[in-house]
């Protein structure tokens, strides 16, 4: 952050001063291409430093394997011919598609359920003072229970496997959806609702025609947070004794001390999480463009 500030102020490019700046921003943004360039260059520099440290032996491969080893494992994960499955063994070579499919499938199913439960729940809390008074204290209390702490009860209720995993990811996704929907629904300006009523809108249409669209920018923020938190819960869900999924692969790799495979798993998590967020932003963008500053 400090680096960017200095560069902007030393007048690297005189045209920079003419760029439109937001009146409320405390820090000017870099122009588009420069942001992208720095965003790409910085990780490259990091990886080069990491390579050098590994090659010179400063960094032991017991702590962190060299980037080239990780890259090789990544290639094996994706393209190596997969072997016939051995019962009870979590495969790595050539198993990328299998694990990604399992993890993303778990994420998609649990998140979809969370959206269908969370949106109406949030709308209800935002619209009804009674419901809000009754449910919100309980909800906020349970919201502070860490996701891993849901695992034991989930295992008792749903047993080992898919059901437990989906429940944990569902719990992980739902709270930001509910909180953001309730909050932004409760903040819809009364004037908008009054205007709709004075224009002849029926009482029972207000939620769908006024509250929901007016609260949508806030709801979309909650949907994005829920998606990301759901993805981070996937690894917890995969602690439930499955041998499919990125989390299962990483725990199997830990048992045989394959750091390279663990890093491949972490990188896959990062890439898919980012892609999911970008996709959701792209899909919801037309719905909330009206609220852009």
């Amino acid at each position: 952050m400090a680096l960017r500030q200095v560069e902007g102020e030393t007048g690297f490019d005189p045209g920079d001063d003419l760029a439109p700046t937001s009146a409320t921003a405390t820090r000017r943004r870099l122009s588009g291409w420069r942001r992208v360039a720095i965003g790409v260059a910085f990780p490259v520099v990091l990886v080069m430093a990491w390579s050098t440290l590994s090659a010179t032996g400063v960094l032991s491969d017991q702590l962190l394997p060299a980037p080239v080893e990780v890259l090789k494992s990544g290639r094996d994960f994706i393209v190596a011919p997969s072997r016939p499955p051995v019962p009870g063994v979590t495969p790595f070579r050539g198993a990328a598609a299998r694990h990604i499919r399992a993890s993303v499938g778990l994420w998609a199913v649990a998140y979809t359920i969370a959206v269908f439960v969370g949106l109406p729940l949030g709308l209800g809390l935002g619209l009804s003072r009674w419901m809000s008074a009754a449910v919100e204290p309980l909800f906020h209390a349970f919201r502070s229970v860490p996701i891993t702490a849901w695992l034991p009860i989930s295992l008792v209720w749903f047993g080992l496997g898919g059901g437990s995993a989906r429940f944990v990811v569902f719990i992980g996704s739902i709270s930001p959806i509910v909180v953001a929907t309730a909050d932004s629904t409760a903040r819809v300006p009364r004037q908008l609702v009054d205007t709709a009523r004075m224009l002849g809108t029926r009482q029972r249409d207000l939620a769908r025609r006024v509250y929901l669209p007016a609260a949508l920018p806030g709801i979309v923020t909650g949907l994005r947070l829920g998606l990301t938190l759901g993805w981070t819960s996937v690894i917890v869900g995969e602690l439930t004794g499955t041998n499919r999924g990125l989390g299962a692969m990483m725990f199997a790799a830990r048992e045989v001390s394959r750091l390279d495979q663990i890093i491949v798993g972490m990188t896959t998590f990062a890439i898919i999480g980012l892609a999911g967020d970008l996709l959701l932003r792209k899909v919801t963008r037309p719905l909330v463009r009206w609220a852009d500053a």
């Binding site: 205007t195 004075m198 224009l199 002849g200 809108t201 006024v210 669209p213 009206w290």
Partner: protein, 274 residues
Amino acid sequence: MSESTAQDLTADATATVAAPAARPVEGAGAPVLAATGVAKGYGSLEVLADIHLSVAPHEVVAVLGPSGCGKSTLLRVLAGLEPPDRGRVEVDGQVVRGPSPDRPMVVQGATLFPWLSLRANLEWGPRALGNPRAAAVVDELLDATGLGGYGALLPRQLSGGMRQRAAIAQVLANQPPLLLLDEPFGALDAQTRLRMQEWLIGLLAERGTATVLVTHDVEEALLLGHRLVRLSHRPAAVVEEVALDLPTPRGRTTLADPRFVELKATVLARVLDA
């Protein structure tokens, strides 16, 4: 302020200014709005004491009062957004029990739906009422408000003056017999405000919509009103009614009319001394 003082003031004002206006519409039938003995408070705070107000068809009544006197509360009660504690409000002979497209209110800082285009905003009312001519009604209104080429824009892409015109057009799309305006041009700069006032005078005259205009601006009240109703400090009661028979059509030239200037000075003095 006592009842007798109010009457004295009324007699005085009418004498200074002119005889009560002989509006062509006077006596044209039952009043559009009849509020009798309306009182309203919030907890221990008494806002409206005893309001009597009647509006004839096509009439524009300007309600003038000091800041914080309860003008907006009065309008919310007339609109049916708040129930009165005492008294009753009737519109076209029907007791007001809730908001209705028959008496919409437009407030300062327009309340268009920000996610809808201007055209969709204007079509909201007619569509909510199942009016099959919604599109045609809105075409006509867009022309009447000088917003013809802007139907596809979002509210935030319009200027403040355009948004305020659009907000008025939005409620007029349901052709209400009564329009309630709460400081509609308060947020605009002086030049824009005068243009908006001239536009509104023309629009209301053409459509014959009975109107209650609440304002703290003496000039606006005198320019737009056919009749002036002045409220006391909180708890508000009517202290004075003045018929305004300044020549029509009114507009920027009215501001220089000697009678307007004199009337403005008189009313302003009373508002300030109240």
